[in-house]
């Protein structure tokens, strides 16, 4: 009750700012939610989570390739968001900031998980672990689709962590190279190099899989 009253006051202040023409572009629904959450309104923070949970968990799943790890990553991401929310300028790009936190969390989890056994494309091929393509008798589209999804996930898992993050953000999340560079904390040139390398590896992986599957 008390929190909502404070939040209402904050809303009132924002509206007053808007009326006075000081910060027209700052008043977005997300900015309003951030302001309320910063004042301790857990309902507002909950709404922020609802708005972004799908994006965060999807990104985590693409980066980690594992639903359990994705859930853990999403949880840790929102906890970190709450912890550092007071330092956030509501007028800034919240989505980019959220991406950055999610990527860092996933990077930490990936490092922990991959410490000890790094998957590589060459090792996969040598060990014969490339997923067997569906047999000619299996003509169900669902099965083929599931198989392809598993192969793509496997192909992504063979990439080094940095390349995987770059290609997921650029090709699957649809961000620009500059945005990816900002999120990953590196230069656009480096990101382009990582993306180029990752695309070449994905193509090679796919070509090998297609050869193994045979024509048709």
């Amino acid at each position: 009750m008390h929190g909502e009253t404070r939040a209402d006051l904050m809303d009132f202040a924002l509206v007053a700012d808007k009326l006075s023409g000081q910060s027209d572009e700052k008043i977005t629904p997300v900015a309003r939610l951030i302001t309320r959450a910063q004042s301790g309104d857990l309902t507002a923070f909950d709404q922020l989570m609802i708005n972004h949970q799908q994006k965060v968990i999807t990104l985590a799943w693409r980066l980690l390739g594992n639903p359990d790890d994705a859930r853990d990553a999403a949880q840790e991401t929102f906890l970190r968001v709450y912890k550092h929310l007071k330092n956030v300028d509501p007028a800034r790009d919240f989505s980019g900031w959220l991406y950055r936190i999610a990527v860092n969390v996933c990077r930490d989890i990936a490092r922990k998980r991959l410490r000890g056994h790094q998957i590589s494309l060459e090792a996969e091929i040598e060990a014969g672990k490339l997923i067997e393509p569906a047999g000619p008798h299996n003509t169900e589209r669902v099965a083929i689709h599931a198989e392809e999804q598993a192969i793509i996930a496997r192909a992504l898992a063979t990439l080094p962590v940095k390349e995987r993050m770059a290609i997921v953000l650029r090709d699957l999340e649809g961000l620009s190279t500059e945005e990816v560079a900002r999120i990953l904390g590196s230069s656009p040139v480096t990101v382009r190099s990582q993306i180029s390398s990752a695309r070449s590896k994905i193509r090679a992986y796919r070509e090998r899989w297609l050869k193994k599957r045979g024509p048709g």
Partner: protein
């Protein structure tokens, strides 16, 4: 550009990540090179294949559980008492008085210790020797071998504005004067300026023994002023100055 160079650029060309001049060069090359055009086609197919990657569907209960866990964790962190709050139950008048007394005693003890240390250090520096006038005349060679520092009286700066000026032990075979060795002479408690003049000129403290009295002579910076201090042998501090 050669095919090898173009091949390196194709992965970025297919998504428009190349600068305009490089993009035009690749585009022109692909129009004339069948092999490179096939590679570019493979990259585009690979891109489409990758983009067909869909994420699994997460049910609403998964998200509900996620938010619930985050909320619980936030509440747990917020309800965790801070370091100050851990000590708050102990904080009452009696505790405050005891703490203040302990602190006061500690400060008093510290001040006493520091003062005591200053006095002790005065004793420690009494290592320089000034020979009596009698000794000087008897042993001029030894006197000339003494370093300047040894002949200087000791000055201890206990603070920038307070300087304790002391005389060293008097070493002489005269039994009447030897008695002074057990009690080093602390003669001056003066300001820095006064000491500066004394340091240079007043090192000629002479201790003579008289029949009933002790006599001390000091030459100040002014050659016309000499301080002579007479004191009874038994009570040295009740002297008179002339």
């Amino acid at each position: 550009m050669s095919c090898t160079q173009i091949e390196k650029l194709i992965p970025l060309y297919i998504s428009g990540d190349l600068p305009p001049h490089a993009e035009h060069a690749v585009c022109d090359h692909l129009a004339s090179c069948e092999r490179c055009a096939r590679i570019a086609g493979e990259f585009e197919e690979s891109q489409d294949w990758l983009r067909s990657f869909t994420t699994p569907h997460f049910d609403q209960p998964v998200f509900d559980k996620l938010r619930d866990t985050v909320r619980r964790e936030i509440t747990r962190v917020q309800s965790r008492p801070s370091l100050f709050e851990l000590f708050t139950p102990l904080w009452n008048i009696r505790f405050a008085l005891v703490s203040a007394s302990a602190l006061l005693l500690l400060v008093a003890g510290l001040i006493f210790y520091l003062n005591h240390q200053t006095v002790s250090s005065i004793d420690l520096v009494h290592e320089g020797k000034i020979e009596s006038s009698q000794n000087k005349t008897e042993n001029p060679t030894r006197n000339s071998q003494m370093s300047g520092e040894q002949q200087k009286t000791n000055v201890i700066r206990s603070s920038p504005r307070r300087i304790i000026y002391t005389l060293p032990y008097v070493s002489t075979p005269d039994p009447k004067t030897i008695a002074l060795k057990s009690n080093p002479l602390e003669l001056w408690l003066v300001t820095g300026e006064a000491v500066n003049s004394l340091i240079d000129e007043s090192q000629t403290a002479e201790v003579d023994s008289m029949q009933e009295m002790m006599r001390f002579e000091f030459q100040t910076a002014d050659p016309n002023i000499r301080i002579i201090w007479l004191t009874p042998k038994e009570s040295k501090h009740n002297g008179e100055t002339r």
